[in-house]
């Protein structure tokens, strides 16, 4: 299992039946491959649809039906379309039950930074700020450290924020961490690691809960 599969399998089990879910582009999308049986989710794309299905076969694309990355979609029975004001009304109004986002940095207060690096070209935040601010549950999925081995889970974000105090769960190939008022609570660790290794690779202090840290299942 690579990082995407590990994160995808564990992340998908955070959902409950009937949830309205928005998955960011990249690693977050991988969760959709591992939805447990008996769990039916409604997927939203912020450009204006709920209930989309798999990618269409080649030759059957509808140029008017795409996801937020302009890739062709299909729609399932029971799905619906709406305009952008309604779409972000759903997002900001708390009607989206769960959003899964990638990050550059996340910190112990649940701050997240994923849209700009000062000095580099800023492509824009798109819908990320609204999704991180408005969704009932915000899940961050990420490799535990960056390419240089430095922690991405910090005491305090250094990059400009995408949203303030909004993350509920942080999921990496090493750990599942819950963001609480008392700090980052380590809920689960991967089978191939230790609490000490996870803490060593995390800048913020991890809280070990009284009921113990579980072994992550996939």
């Amino acid at each position: 299992m690579d990082v995407r599969e590990k994160v995808g399998r564990r992340g998908a089990r955070l959902f409950k039946d009937g949830m309205l879910v928005n998955l960011g582009i990249g690693m977050p999308t991988s969760l959709s491959n591992y939805i447990p049986e008996g769990i039916k989710l409604h997927f939203q794309t912020e450009n204006g649809a709920i209930g989309f299905g798999p990618s269409p076969e080649k030759g059957y694309e509808n140029p008017y039906l795409t996801n937020a990355g302009a890739n062709p979609l299909t729609i399932l029975p029971g799905g619906c379309y709406f305009d952008s004001a309604t779409s972000f009304g759903l997002i900001r109004g708390g009607h989206v039950d769960a959003t899964v986002l990638g990050v550059l940095e996340v910190d112990e207060k649940g701050n997240l930074a994923n849209y700009m690096v000062p000095g580099k070209l800023v492509p824009g935040m798109g819908g990320a700020m609204d999704l991180a601010t408005g969704s009932k549950m915000v899940v961050v999925v990420t490799e535990h450290c960056d390419r240089n081995g430095n922690p991405k889970i910090l005491k305090q974000c250094r990059l400009p924020l995408t949203a303030k105090e909004s993350v509920d769960w942080i999921l990496s190939e090493l750990a599942l961490i819950e963001v609480t008022k008392d700090g980052l609570v380590l809920r689960e660790i991967a089978p191939n690691t230790t609490i000490e290794e996870v803490q060593a690779k995390t800048e913020a202090a991890l809280v070990i809960p009284g009921e113990g840290v579980k072994l992550m299942e996939y």
């Binding site: 794309t45 912020e46 450009n47 204006g48 649809a49 509808n62 140029p63 008017y64 039906l65 795409t66 937020a68 990355g69 302009a70 979609l73 729609i75 379309y81 709406f82 305009d83 952008s84 004001a85 972000f88 009304g89 997002i91 900001r92 701050n111 700009m116 070209l121 800023v122 492509p123 824009g124 935040m125 798109g126 819908g127 990320a128 700020m129 609204d130 601010t133 408005g134 400009p160 924020l161 995408t162 949203a163 303030k164 105090e165």
Partner: protein, 215 residues
């Protein structure tokens, strides 16, 4: 009755320095024939209000490549590198808005509201210079309405009364943009005599001109 015109006639109404709103999300639901005509007309120093700057060869991106904007108000530029180049070389002013804030500002401009408070952007660079106020225990930013001189929108089906209907995710910014401009020009794939009044998304009274794609 909406007046039926060509894309070139639509483009000819626009003057240097005008503010235009254009529908579409990464060019899906953008009025391509009107964008082409605006490139041909070569009108300059426009201000653009649009979700994004499309692709180099699709949507408003074609006008970016032709350097027709002095300012862009959008939520995302990543699919058109020329926008970033013009921005970083100081040729183009760019104002980035969260997508939900951008569409709501356009809506406020269209429905006569003077602004609104939103939690989106609090604690981020978007909050710089904006009033912050705690409402129901939550920090909120004051965001102001946006309007323009022209709205260029794209319908899937239009009728002779100007009523419009969209298809799938081609709807996006189009319905709100139709409220927020002095002159509204809709490009449509198909023109019919009239439609079921319950099927109308954009009321025909908002649409001044229609550009047909089906002839």
């Amino acid at each position: 009755m909406a007046k039926i015109i060509t894309a070139d006639e639509a483009a000819a109404m626009v003057s240097d320095g005008d503010t235009i709103l254009v529908g579409g999300f990464l060019a899906v639901g953008s009025p391509e024939a009107i964008c082409d005509a605006l490139v041909s007309s070569n009108v300059k120093n426009l201000t653009l209000i649009c979700n994004d700057t499309g692709w180099p060869d699709r949507g408003v991106g074609k006008l970016i490549m032709n350097k027709q904007f002095k300012k862009v108000i959008a939520s995302h530029l990543g699919t058109n590198k020329e926008t970033g180049r013009q921005m970083s070389e100081g040729e183009l002013e760019v104002e980035l808005n969260p997508q939900g804030t951008l569409i709501e500002r356009i809506r406020a401009g269209g429905v006569g509201l003077g602004g609104f408070y939103t939690p989106t952007g609090v604690g981020t660079p978007v909050a710089e210079g904006k009033e912050i106020r705690v409402i129901n225990g939550r920090e909120m930013l004051l965001e102001m309405p946006l309007r323009g001189k022209f709205a260029f929108i794209k319908g899937f089906v239009g009728d002779k009364h100007g009523n419009l209907r969209y298809q799938a995710t081609g709807r996006n910014f189009n319905p709100e943009i139709a409220l927020a401009a002095d002159i509204v020009i809709a490009e449509v794939d198909h023109l019919v005599d009239f439609m079921d009044p319950d099927d109308v998304v954009t009321p025909g009274v908002l649409v001044d001109y229609i550009v047909r794609r089906d002839i």
